[in-house]
Subunit: 246 residues, 2 copies
DNA sequence: AATTAATGTGTTAGTTTTACACATTAATTC
DNA sequence: GAATTAATGTGTAAAACTAACACATTAATT
């Protein structure tokens, strides 16, 4: 920090007032959050959608969202929506991108901060009774309301990337899972097939799986071992440097 | 998309009106963009900062930003700031994160969408005459105004990650550069030392560098060859799949 | 008891990364 | 202008990682 201070008090006051008057004037920009809530069920990646309640998008599905309250942090707004719609707290939530095209919302200028959330569908079962709320297989997610298709695509791509570099996937699985479950999850999210033996080797070599010495129950084949993910160990040993690769 | 349509027109109208009234009411959230503008000069990574014009942050440095105009896209607002402050168009610009803590701005509720920009410092030279605008060596960037330190840290980390996976760095260099320039850039951004021979091998094996058959001029040692980055080839051949690694 | 379909474990060849050494070139020094 | 210096430019070998592939084991089912 070098250089002299040429502070102009008039300028200070003006700019503060300018901002304040903007904040208080009408013709303002509204702010919302939208959540792309992913689940994993029957070996398929799902997303939770609700019917649009706008005439313009009659019959279309849309993401779960709401306006941000004036005294509410962005993350808090996203958590509120999640709690409201799934009954769940303490879920994985990550801000992804903010969409603000001038004409993206028919009701006026609404900028939306979008979040990606991963939940364990076993845990909720709750507010899904709501007739307008449904889990959609992500391969069937097309033609959403507003710009929600674009938002969904962005969040899905982000998930595909993040799951390769961070242990997010476990948020979609039960605490105890088999390696087959884990591979099915990766194959569903990344839309690819992987070699079972190499997949297994990869995860064992990372050494973040805890063998809890239990087996799958009620499976119509030889039961596999169950594991938990060792978050503590991961936090200590996670890699910092990767290298140039593009 | 299955399920019958139980559209409730009253509900539709209500919710639309609710949003519209929110948009038009006062006590609204203001929206700004802030740009973290990186440059590379004398083998050091730099960031362009301006003196805060708020009394509360007298003497502190802050990022370049402004309120988003009611009929302006977010990206357009970021480009406007860049053009205004550096005179440059057609620069690398990427949205990074949106910060919206309730008390982050002393003038009221201001949510800010932050962008990372990479420019070639050779190209501008222009509006830098402004006494209040300075390039700061990033190692000396501490204690910025508002929550700008957090924003800067986030954008810098993002840059560190992105430069390993995408050819962003070339935006900070002249069109023609030596491999030494390129390595210095990577070492500055990633704050690390690399083996010169392996770095060289890595980039040659990617095969995205065009040997333009020119040499460095006016260097006080054996001049190195100059290269350009082959964006066309990169766009065709860039890798999609990487693999699980964390 | 035989069959089936999954889990669980190696092995090998190929590729990539890392560590490290020496020859070459042009500016600088004497 | 010859010797010195400090950079560029190239190569090699060990180690680590990835990808492709085969067989034994287990438990449910027939």
């Amino acid at each position: 920090m070098s250089g002299e201070l040429n502070t102009d008090k008039v300028k200070n006051v003006k700019s503060l007032l300018a901002i304040q008057s903007e904040v208080e004037s009408s013709n303002k920009i509204a702010l919302s959050v939208d959540c792309v809530i992913f689940g994993f069920d029957e070996n398929k990646l799902k997303v939770l959608l609700i019917r649009s309640d706008l005439k313009k998008y009659l019959g279309k599905w849309s993401l779960l969202g709401d306006l941000v309250r004036p005294s509410e942090d962005l993350d808090a707004a996203a958590y509120r929506i999640l709690k409201q719609r799934t009954g769940l707290s303490d879920v994985y939530l990550e801000q992804v991108h903010t969409f603000g095209s001038v004409n993206r919302h028919p009701a006026g200028r609404v900028v939306t901060v979008t979040y990606c959330s991963l939940i364990n569908v076993q845990h909720h079962k709750l507010n899904i009774l709501d007739n307008e709320l449904h889990w959609h297989d992500i391969v069937n997610v097309t033609d959403l309301a507003f710009d929600h298709q674009q938002i969904f695509d962005t969040c899905y791509k982000r998930l595909q990337k993040r799951i390769q570099e961070h242990p997010l996937g476990f948020n979609l699985l039960p605490k105890k899972f088999s390696l087959r479950d884990l591979q099915n999850l990766y194959e569903a999210i990344l839309d690819t097939k992987m070699d079972r033996r190499n997949f297994r080797k990869k995860f064992f070599s990372m050494d973040f799986l805890i063998d809890i010495d239990e087996m799958e129950q009620d499976v119509p084949h030889r039961p596999g071992k169950l594991y938990k993910f060792n978050y503590e160990k991961y936090e200590k040993k996670k890699k910092k440097w990767v290298g140039i690769d593009f």
